[in-house]
């Protein structure tokens, strides 16, 4: 297929996933903000959401770090390249640039999402009913993935779509876990107390994984278990391990289909092994934040390697 088409498909699914991920980050901030202040009363949830979103640098330093302003920035700000509205704009523009490569159902899912999001009433919804708005965004992601799953040919285009989804999702789960890092006060006395546990369950909720977690671990909300569920557990659909497994599989499919292997194949296997061979104790003792940083860097490098292997930037 045309490299530009593959590039478009890859980024199209990344944008959709990113929009959803932005919503999940906000969900976490929103829930954490409902808790009594921790320690000295420093309320930093929305600042943490900003940091974890990777958009902090674009945020007006004089603007208050409150829900209304931060959410508005993450949802509607046109200068913020990762704002939800921009994600949908880019996704739809990508789709329109290669209408022949996606199905009518996929197009409709994207087109409808953007048309609704452009309505003024959505501003009010986001301002007054943030949780409802967040659900709306997550639903759009589900609709798009559902349309994709049930209509598109299982050819190389499908692999590029899925690669985009899982690269972006892995990045996001790492970011969600990192919000926890930013919010949690470093004093050891705090770890494991009521507030701390509540915050950890919030991470699970934002990952839509609370119930799944129940099924796997019953009610043991220890940070250890929750982090395990979102990092190393291969059955958890948003875990880093699951994303890495999917990425490896789709790259393998491409290698078989094209009869060509590239550096990126080795890199993906290496990233996957890192997750299958690590233990949670080890990760915690070496520092969760450092582990997540390292993972995000690898994941980013993998994305670049995919672009290079399949000539996204021309050849």
């Amino acid at each position: 297929m045309l490299s530009r088409t593959a590039d478009n498909l890859f980024w199209l699914s990344r944008y959709v996933e990113r929009a959803e991920n932005m919503a999940r980050l906000m969900e976490m901030g929103y829930r954490m903000a409902l808790m009594p202040a921790v320690g000295n009363g420093n309320r930093s949830e929305w600042e943490s959401v900003l940091s974890a979103s990777g958009c902090h640098a674009g945020y007006d330093p004089d603007a208050p770090l409150r829900q209304e302003e931060v959410a508005n920035f993450l949802i509607f700000n046109r200068d913020n390249p990762s704002s939800i509205i921009n994600c949908f704009e880019y996704a739809r523009a990508n789709a329109r640039a290669m209408r022949t490569a996606i199905t009518a159902e996929m197009w409709e899912a994207l087109n409808n999402a953007l048309m609704e999001l452009r309505r003024p009433s959505m501003h009010n919804l986001a301002k007054n009913e943030l949780p409802e708005f967040i659900d709306w965004v997550k639903k759009q992601g589900s609709l798009f993935r559902g349309a994709t799953d049930s209509t598109i040919l299982r050819n190389d285009g499908y692999d590029f779509i899925r690669l985009g989804t899982f690269i972006e999702r892995a990045d996001n789960t790492a970011r969600l876990l990192d919000v926890k890092y930013y919010v949690l006060l470093p004093e050891t006395s705090m770890v494991g107390d009521g507030v701390d546990n509540y915050q950890w369950t919030t991470v699970l909720r934002a990952a839509s994984s609370l119930r799944a977690f129940h099924w796997v671990y019953r009610d043991d909300y220890s940070p250890h278990r929750i982090a395990h569920f979102l990092i190393l557990n291969p059955f958890s659909p948003r875990s880093l391990a699951h994303c890495a497994e999917q990425i490896t599989q789709h790259l393998e499919r491409l290698a078989r289909h094209y009869g060509q292997r590239h550096d990126v194949h080795g890199q993906a296997v290496e990233m996957y092994s890192l997750l299958t061979q690590s233990a949670m104790d080890e990760i915690f003792s070496n520092g969760l934040h450092e582990f997540l940083n390292d993972f995000q860097a690898r994941n980013g490098a993998l994305s670049n390697a995919i672009a290079e292997a399949y000539y996204f930037g021309g050849q």
């Binding site: 297929m1 045309l2 490299s3 530009r4 593959a6 523009a93 329109r96 640039a97 290669m98 209408r99 022949t100 009518a104 197009w107 409709e108 087109n111 190389d156 590029f160 491409l254 094209y258 060509q260 399949y310 000539y311 021309g314 050849q315």
Partner: protein
């Protein structure tokens, strides 16, 4: 004025079954169908952007549910006439880029051809595959009476609109299955296959395998982008932009996920001026640097061939009947509209004296822009236009205001006659092929003669009845 549906208070024969159906079902059913059709169009996303209006770049083109119908014998005449024109125009193009016999014979003035902006010195002496330049000829035809058809203009540079012909039919078959079951309406759906066959047949000399064909589009911002992607999809070929193609070792390649893939035939939907910045406009980012060198050396075929535009120039148009006589030794089957060329002093004098009755057009204009429709203009507009003509007489031609035929059409007040024209799409390659059908455009404003979609025109399905 000729009404396509009724004559002497009688329903004309090809419309009989349709009128019966409409009477049997009543206006409510028809209105219901109209709403359904609009929903379908929106869903599919068939759009046409309008330049210069700053509006929604994905505006819908209005679709009218009442078809325009030709009898089999009417179509036979059009079919022969259009093919004859397509053949003559291509012969003319080959001639002017080679020996220019028609000019030596004194039939067409040399300046009109060689000083024409659309004449391309860069392709003089090049033999395109099968000597064909214009592979898709869209001939705009109007009707003024039962037997009176006139050609308004020829479109030799990849004319647009064929996607509407195909999509309109899809919608109509969904709306009126009974009519299609009971009537013998010629199908149009084979057009993409015929286009693909035509494109395959013009593979360049160096191509030694099944040719790899692509559609080259300026991109999603182009007004006809929907059509570009539609045709690529229907033919099952890649839709590429200039940035996807590159030249290496005298061949053209496209960038794919498996590395470079050679391209043999390019159906381009971008203008000559933009296809190769090394040969034409250096500021173009839409084209492919070096493409023309590959074309010259027979490494790639381009549809339509660079330089084809000189055949559809509005001043050259006036000589098409002479071309047909000169090259084919035949009388034209379809007439031209009588035309005054303002470049001739006598003609200009006549035009300036009769501005109120004539339609005056810029020779190089298209899309219905920059024209003066005399009967619909004010004195002040006429005076201003007269100044423009005097400043540059050679740039203008004038034609009588034809009493274009009208076809019943849905308007706000119900169903009323509106003026229509007709564009069939003739394919030229190893053979000359014409799909029985075409695009009927309708001027939706009462009394308006301008059918261009950029000026408030709509479209209709066109039915050719078989014997």
């Amino acid at each position: 004025m000729f009404n396509e549906m009724t004559m002497d208070d009688q329903v004309r024969e090809p419309y009989r079954a349709l009128v019966d159906w409409m009477e049997a079902n009543g206006p409510e059913v028809l209105e219901q169908k109209r709403l359904e059709a609009e929903t379908l169009f929106r869903k599919i996303g068939i759009t046409f952007a309008v330049y210069g209006e700053g509006g929604d770049p994905e505006r819908l083109i209005p679709f009218d549910l009442i078809p325009r119908i030709f009898t089999a014998s009417e179509w036979r005449k059009l079919d022969r006439g259009v093919k004859q024109r397509a053949r003559a125009l291509n012969t003319f193009l080959y001639d002017v880029y080679h020996n220019a016999e028609i000019i030596k014979a004194g039939i067409i003035p040399a300046d009109l051809v060689f000083k024409n902006d659309a004449f391309e010195p860069a392709v003089i002496g090049i033999d395109p595959p099968r000597k064909v330049y214009s592979h898709i000829v869209g001939v705009d035809i109007v009707r003024t009476g039962p037997e009176d058809f006139y050609v308004l203009e020829d479109n030799c540079r990849t004319p647009s609109g064929v996607s509407y012909m195909l999509e309109n039919r899809e919608i109509m078959m969904r709306m009126f299955p009974e009519l299609f079951k009971n009537l013998r309406i010629e199908p149009v759906e084979s057009y993409p296959d015929m286009l693909l066959k035509t494109l395959k047949s013009i593979a360049p000399p160096k191509c030694d395998r099944e040719p790899n064909i692509v559609v080259l589009t300026p991109g999603a911002m182009n007004s006809a982008y929907y059509e570009h992607s539609f045709l690529a999809d229907q033919m099952g070929v890649e839709l590429v932009e200039g940035q996807d193609l590159f030249v290496s070792d005298d061949r053209v390649y496209m960038r794919t996920t498996r590395g470079p893939a050679r391209v043999d035939v390019i159906y381009r939907r971008i203008d000559d001026a933009y296809i190769d910045p090394l040969c034409f406009r250096p500021d173009s980012v839409l084209g492919v640097p070096g493409l023309m060198n590959v074309y010259r050396s027979g490494g790639v075929a381009i549809c339509s061939a660079p330089g084809a535009g000189v055949a559809d120039d509005k001043a050259v148009y006036t000589y098409v009947p002479d071309m047909i006589r000169f090259y084919l030794g035949q009388e034209p089957i379809l007439n031209n509209v009588p035309t005054w060329k303002c470049g001739k002093p006598d003609d200009m004098k006549y035009v300036l004296e009769h501005l109120g009755e004539l339609v005056v057009k810029e020779v190089h204009g298209s899309g219905g822009y920059g024209m003066l429709v005399g009967p619909a203009s004010t004195k002040a507009e006429q005076a201003a236009y007269a100044e423009r003509i005097k400043a540059d007489p050679g740039d203008f031609i004038a034609q009588p205001t034809l009493a274009l035929s009208a076809c019943p059409t849905f308007v706000e007040s119900g169903i009323a006659p509106r003026h229509v024209d007709f564009r069939p799409f003739c394919l030229v390659g190893d053979d000359i092929r014409l799909t029985p059908g075409g695009l009927t455009r309708v001027a939706l404003r009462e009394g308006s003669l301008v059918v261009n979609s950029s000026q408030g025109g709509g479209v209709k399905d066109t039915w050719i009845m078989s014997d």
